[in-house]
């Protein structure tokens, strides 16, 4: 019980990074990026490929992956999403759906359907290992990285010109443009930041769990769950959402058996959505 609770909280940190990119994109351009999970898994495969065939150093591979994902984020935003964003939310949603289908099938074609994992030194270690409680080093590391990413994003959003332009655009796009913010460029920057978080999340997920080309769907739902529970566009809410979902899954798995782990997470998500359709921490209705 205690074990599930602790692991659930730690897992929540990882879930928060999975969701934060989606939350950022939704907060600023009201776009649900249905390709978020697949982009994240794409980052996982990119890291894996660089580690196994270019350099053995995981850190270099992570840095390279982040660069690749940022470039990809820029391309997707500039050439696909920005073009349809003015035509209402549905075309943009469907464009990201198309990207999602493309990426997952591309991964299937290139890497095959077998499960993979990124080898690392933390995966098999335990920080604490007693009879009642053991804490995996990887879980703890993911949690700490999650907190660090959220804190630094929070700082960027509050203290820098870039963050202010993002917040201004998300509050009132017209007013932001009148004040000299190039909102389409801001959208691109936001997508690039989201891709940095997706790359980091992808590497952490790939080092913690096995993954398949089709894993994107599962993580998209987790990202969505995190964002919805926490309230779309709220950074602190993302962490709360991650922890709620992580604890719900592991406690559900503990009580009903591990087969029902994901299912209990989904059901808690649906319940929260039904009771508070705008998220736990949302301030009023944001449409």
């Amino acid at each position: 019980m205690l074990q599930s609770l602790v692991n659930g909280i730690l897992l929540g940190g990882l879930y928060a990074i999975i969701g934060i990119g989606m939350s950022l994109v939704f907060g600023i351009m009201r776009l649900t990026n249905l390709a978020h999970g697949d982009l994240m898994i794409l980052a996982t495969y990119t890291t894996l490929t660089i580690v196994t065939s270019v350099t053995g150093n995981l850190w270099i591979a992570v840095a390279a992956t982040i660069l690749v994902m940022v470039a990809l984020g820029f391309l997707i935003q500039n050439f696909l999403v920005n073009r349809v964003l003015d035509k209402g939310s549905e075309p943009a949603l469907l464009v990201t759906f198309g990207v999602s289908i493309f990426i997952s099938n591309f991964l299937l074609k290139v890497f095959g359907a077998d499960n993979k994992i990124i080898q690392n030194s933390l995966a098999s270690k335990n920080v604490i290992s007693t009879e009642h409680l053991s804490i995996s080093a990887m879980y703890l590391f993911s949690f700490l990285v999650g907190i660090a990413v959220i804190l630094s994003l929070h700082y960027i959003m509050q203290k820098t010109y870039f963050g202010r332009s993002i917040r201004a655009t998300s509050c009132d796009r017209m007013a932001a443009e009148l004040n000299g913010v190039n909102t389409k460029r801001t959208f691109s920057y936001a997508m690039m930041v989201a891709m940095v978080t997706a790359a980091i999340a992808g590497v952490l997920v790939g080092s913690t769990f096995v993954f398949y080309p089709s894993s994107g769907t599962q993580y998209l739902i987790i990202a969505f769950g995190v964002v919805v529970i926490g309230g779309m566009g709220s950074l602190v809410g993302t962490l709360v959402g991650g922890i709620v979902l992580g604890v719900a899954q592991l406690m559900g798995g503990h009580i009903f058996g591990s087969a029902y782990q994901m299912l209990s997470g989904y059901i808690v998500l649906l319940l929260i959505l039904a009771i508070r359709p705008n998220g736990l921490l949302s301030v009023g209705a944001r449409k």
């Binding site: 549905e90 469907l94 289908i101 299912l263 449409k287």
Partner: protein, 320 residues
């Protein structure tokens, strides 16, 4: 300048539909088995497209979870007709009824969400069903069920079943749109707050659409699995159904009745063609969908209609 196609005089349109229906009914007598099986798929996908379009194009309910009902329909067919030995058509009908009941029970929760929340909420419901069925002994977990009762049908039988389902789906949508709730639906599609101000009960109208589509989707799922004859949770509740249906309606034209028909024809033929490229067919599908949204966000029919005013299957009333 508005062109009115196929509507010269009062008799042009009904005559045209009679000819098309006659061709469809007699198809197995004058064409090969391959054409019949392709037409069967087109009819089933068209039916799915009509139902998804009814929700997304008219009621403003963009659902990514219609595979929930395909799965329920398929599993009802499998369980009732093979395990309990019930009549096949009764089993398919039960699939529709179970879909309806399920839709009714989740609707209070789902309908609190709007827009993207609804889209993904409905997807999470479908994913939950996938997980539930994969862990349910009653449906043999994730091992799947052979629908042995479906073996008695040949391609021609399956084609006629698909024809009934397809025509029923199109007819349901057509009649619904021509009725009073159709007017309400179109008013909602064009401007939901204006529609509400004029006294349209948004919730009730949306719920009616959702229940009708769910019921029909369950039936279509049954018919589809009569053809597949083997059901797996991961395939029956796969997001792939929604991918297909979204693709069809988008390229055909969302919010039009012709859209799903054109979309289904293109999708099935395109898919047959893509069989030559195993592995990359879905990638090509994704890219095509993106390109079409970039070039013609209203789909083929929408763009045609905007440019020329052509409407083939108009749900509008003609005055005078």
């Amino acid at each position: 300048m508005k062109l009115k196609l196929l509507s010269k005089g009062t008799y042009g349109k009904p005559l045209c539909f009679l000819v098309i229906m006659a061709l469809l009914v007699t198809l197995p007598y004058w064409s090969g088995e391959y054409v019949v099986s392709i037409m069967m798929l087109i009819l089933l996908y068209m039916a799915m497209g009509q139902m998804w379009n009814l929700m997304a194009g008219y009621a403003g309910l963009l659902s990514l979870g219609m595979q929930a009902f395909i799965g329920i329909g398929g599993y009802s067919l499998a369980v009732f007709s093979t395990t309990y030995g019930l009549n096949i058509f009764v089993s398919i009908l039960l699939g529709g009824i179970f879909s309806l009941i399920f839709a009714f029970f989740i609707s209070p929760a789902l309908f609190k969400m709007s827009g993207v929340y609804f889209a993904i909420g409905s997807w999470v419901v479908a994913e939950s069903l996938l997980l539930w069925f994969s862990n349910w002994e009653f449906v043999r977990y994730a091992q799947g069920i052979n629908i042995t009762s479906a073996y008695q049908f040949d391609t021609v039988d399956l084609y006629y079943i698909a024809l009934v389902v397809g025509v029923a789906a199109a007819l349901v949508v057509y009649l619904l749109l021509r009725s009073k709730s159709g007017l309400a639906l179109m008013a909602m599609r064009d401007n939901s707050s204006a529609a509400e101000t004029l006294g349209i009960e948004l919730y009730k109208t949306k719920l009616r659409c959702y229940l009708i589509s769910s019921f029909m989707m369950g039936i279509i799922g049954g018919a589809m699995y009569l053809y597949q004859a083997y059901i797996l949770p991961s395939a029956a509740f796969s997001i792939g159904w929604t991918v297909a249906v979204t693709f069809m309606v988008i390229i055909g034209g969302i919010g039009t009745m012709e859209g799903p028909i054109i979309g289904a024809v293109l999708y099935v033929l395109f898919n047959q063609y893509l069989y030559q490229f195993p592995g990359i067919s879905m990638m090509i599908l994704g890219v095509t969908a993106i390109l079409i949204i970039l070039v013609a966000p209203n789909g083929i029919m929408g763009t045609l209609h905007n440019k020329t005013g052509i409407e083939i299957l108009s749900a509008r009333r003609n005055v005078g």
